[in-house]
């Protein structure tokens, strides 16, 4: 799922060059599914890698999920293993983004509600807004933290299990890709020597 970005970012970089020196090819990006107008299929929303770059690019932490988005480089002669790795990383990134953005927003929302309701019971005359947060003591907030953790425990269990699995798989494929590239390099050198 694409990053949850607020609307209003009217300015977007112009359409990126489709063909770069490194033979970058059009690849699906997060924004495309959401119908993000700026997405040319090559850029992440708000970012375009330089033409000459042959590497992935990592961005600042997302304001909702605190995770750093990665813009994946798609080489022209991408092997099936490399493609699989990239797609897996892309999908994991989106999955992580969705989970943590949702988690953080839920936390924030429930915290505000908790504070509001507690302050209401404490003093009906008090107006609640963001500034009133300080009125609840740490002990009172502790009740909320405990409850929130308990409520989300099962969700975290599933997330942990999936995250470990994905992390291992991605690392495994990274290893495969690294070996494949090494093998190709050695094969090329061999061919040069004999040729």
């Amino acid at each position: 799922m694409a990053a949850l970005r607020p609307g209003g970012r009217a300015l977007r970089p112009p359409l990126c060059r489709a063909v770069a020196d490194c033979g970058r090819r059009l690849g699906p990006e997060r924004g495309a599914e959401r119908g993000d107008a700026a997405s040319s299929g090559v850029c992440s929303p708000g970012f375009c890698p330089p033409r000459k770059s042959c590497h992935d690019w990592i961005g600042p932490p997302d304001k909702y999920s605190n995770l750093r988005p990665v813009h994946f480089y798609v080489p022209e002669n991408e092997s099936p293993v490399e493609q699989k790795l990239r797609e897996l990383r892309q999908e994991t990134q989106e999955w992580n983004q969705q989970f943590w953005a949702n988690q953080n927003l839920t936390f924030s929302k429930e915290k505000e509600e908790f504070i509001r309701s507690r302050l209401k019971t404490k003093g009906p005359g008090l107006k609640t807004d963001a500034g009133q947060k300080a009125a609840l003591t740490a002990d009172e907030m502790a009740d909320f933290y405990k409850e929130f953790l308990r409520k989300n425990f099962r969700k975290h269990m599933y997330y942990n299990r999936d995250w470990y699995r994905r992390n291992f798989t991605i690392t495994y494929f990274m290893g495969k890709v690294a070996l494949e590239r090494l093998w190709n390099k050695l094969a090329q050198k061999q061919a040069k020597r004999s040729g």
Binding site: P6, R9, L11, R12, P13, G46, F47, C48, P49, S53, H55, D56, W57, I58, G59, P60, P61, K63, Y64, S65, N66, L67, R68, V70, H71, N96, W100, Q103, N104, L105, F107, S108, K111, A138, D139, M141, A142, F144, Y145, K146, F148, L149, R150, N152, F153, K155, H156, M157, Y159, N160, W163, Y164, N167, I170, T171, M174, G175, A178
Partner: protein, 448 residues
């Protein structure tokens, strides 16, 4: 207050991001009007002194100036105002420590249960992230970095990955265990033990960070770690961990003795495969982590003597008990982050237990200190000399138990930081001298 390039670079080298903060302060100071400048300078000096003081104690702390510097849950406002200047005017300084549980308890620094704390440079991070007067889109574009492995950055990144300073503290607890063992001091063995333990600790820390990337991203303490920032890939992290673990364990097993090697492997396993996942499942992680912290000094002892005797267990017990006031006190102020991140910590789920356990183990420290001469590890001077500091930390733990507030938790936490090194030092000074040992003969003097 123009910083010369050399002092600037030396500060950056010495203090990493804190140095970077200093640099930023200086830069701002140059631009700021005189009155602001003086305020900045005073605050900078204060922070500098605090940091230097901590460095003297060989602890890693980065002072965080205001407790409101929690990981932002709500979306940040578009116009970024650097929190750093706001924080300079705030009164409270919160110290963050590097958590290390890899091989031993947070050792001297702060192996915290949130294991994996690192240098916190929240203010600096926001400084780095927002250039001051650029258009919004370009600003964001500038924050994207190429994920290319730079050889220049690699040593620094690997050092952060392995939590090198925390590892150094773990190695010092191992060294203390080695020195306390009732055998003649053997330098080659000592060096091999230290190196092997250090490598094993690096490996365990790296695997820990490998597992915890999304969680680290969401906590202030840990959000600048190399894997989170994309400086290195997960594959590199795992490869590095393997390259540290294999020689480290081999060194301990064949260079020292198999018992120490086995303890090293066990500790790596305990930290990476038990403690790290358990953090998100059950509060039992704290006890497991305490064991992780207790093992390195035991390893030091077994490296020297070749056997696991009572003295080793006593030393392990002291480190084990120390973990609780240290960690429980620190975790008290992090309840929000733990709750949001899904970490099962006593401070969130069982706050009463959290404080009781801290107090209980402070009292246990008094008992263990009294047991030391009984087990022939130290002379009877040790319980007497260590009583004041043990009583003091117990008092602070009692206050924490009663008051259950941020102030008492911080006092207890900071006390634990100097309490352990001092206790180890006292242990070493009161070490029981064996007849025939060089120290005993020296004490006997010309009379014998």
């Amino acid at each position: 207050m123009a910083a010369s390039p050399r002092s600037l670079s030396s500060r950056l080298l010495l203090t990493g991001r804190a140095g970077g903060c200093m640099w930023y302060l200086e830069r701002r100071a140059v631009q700021a009007p005189p009155r602001k400048f003086m305020r900045l300078f005073r605050n900078a000096s204060k922070e500098w002194i605090t940091f230097q003081h901590f460095r003297f104690l060989k602890r890693l702390y980065v002072t965080q100036l205001h407790s409101s510097l929690n990981q932002q849950v709500k979306p940040k406002p578009e116009a970024v105002v650097s929190p750093f200047l706001e924080n300079t005017s705030s009164v409270e300084a919160k110290a963050e420590m590097e958590a290390m549980r890899a091989h031993s308890p947070p050792g001297l620094t702060l192996p915290l249960k949130p294991r994996g704390e690192e240098l916190v440079e929240v203010a600096c991070a926001s400084v780095v992230e927002s250039p001051i007067d650029v258009g919004e889109t370009t600003k964001e574009e500038k924050q994207w970095t190429e994920m290319k492995l730079r050889m220049d950055d690699l040593p620094g990144a690997l050092a952060r990955l392995s939590k090198i300073k925390l590892t150094a503290l773990v190695v010092s607890t191992t060294a203390a265990g080695f020195a306390l063992a009732p055998v003649p001091f053997h330098w080659p063995c000592f060096l091999l033990t230290s190196l092997g333990t250090g490598l094993a600790s690096c490996a365990a820390n790296s695997i820990n960070q490998f597992f915890e990337v999304p969680f680290d991203s969401n906590m202030n303490r840990t959000k600048n770690r190399p894997l989170v920032r994309g400086q290195i890939s997960p594959l590199l992290a795992v490869s590095f961990a393997t390259c540290c673990a294999v020689p480290g364990v081999a060194l301990l097993t064949w260079g020292v003795n198999p018992l120490t090697g086995a303890l090293g492997v066990f500790n790596i396993f305990l930290y990476t495969c038990c403690y790290t996942p358990l953090k998100r499942i059950s509060i039992a992680n704290t006890w497991v982590g305490a064991v992780v912290g207790a093992i390195p000094p035991v390893m030091g002892w077994t490296a020297a003597t070749g056997s696991l005797d009572v003295g080793a267990l006593l030393l392990g017990g002291i480190l084990y008990s120390w973990q609780f006031p240290h960690f429980n006190a620190l975790s008290w102020g992090l309840r929000e982050d733990y709750s949001r991140g899904g970490y099962c910590m006593m401070s969130v789920t069982h706050p009463g237990l959290c404080r009781r356990v801290a107090l209980r183990h402070c009292l246990a420290l008094i008992a263990l200190s009294a047991a030391a001469p009984a087990l022939d590890v130290t002379s009877w001077a040790f319980p007497a000399i260590s009583l004041p500091i043990n009583l003091y930390i117990s008092y602070l733990a009692f206050r924490f138990y009663k008051d259950a507030d941020r102030k008492s938790s911080r006092k207890l936490f900071f006390c634990s930081l100097w309490h352990l090194p001092l206790l180890l030092l006292l242990l070493l000074t009161c070490k029981r001298r064996r007849a025939g040992s060089p120290e005993a003969e020296a004490e006997a003097g010309p009379a014998s």
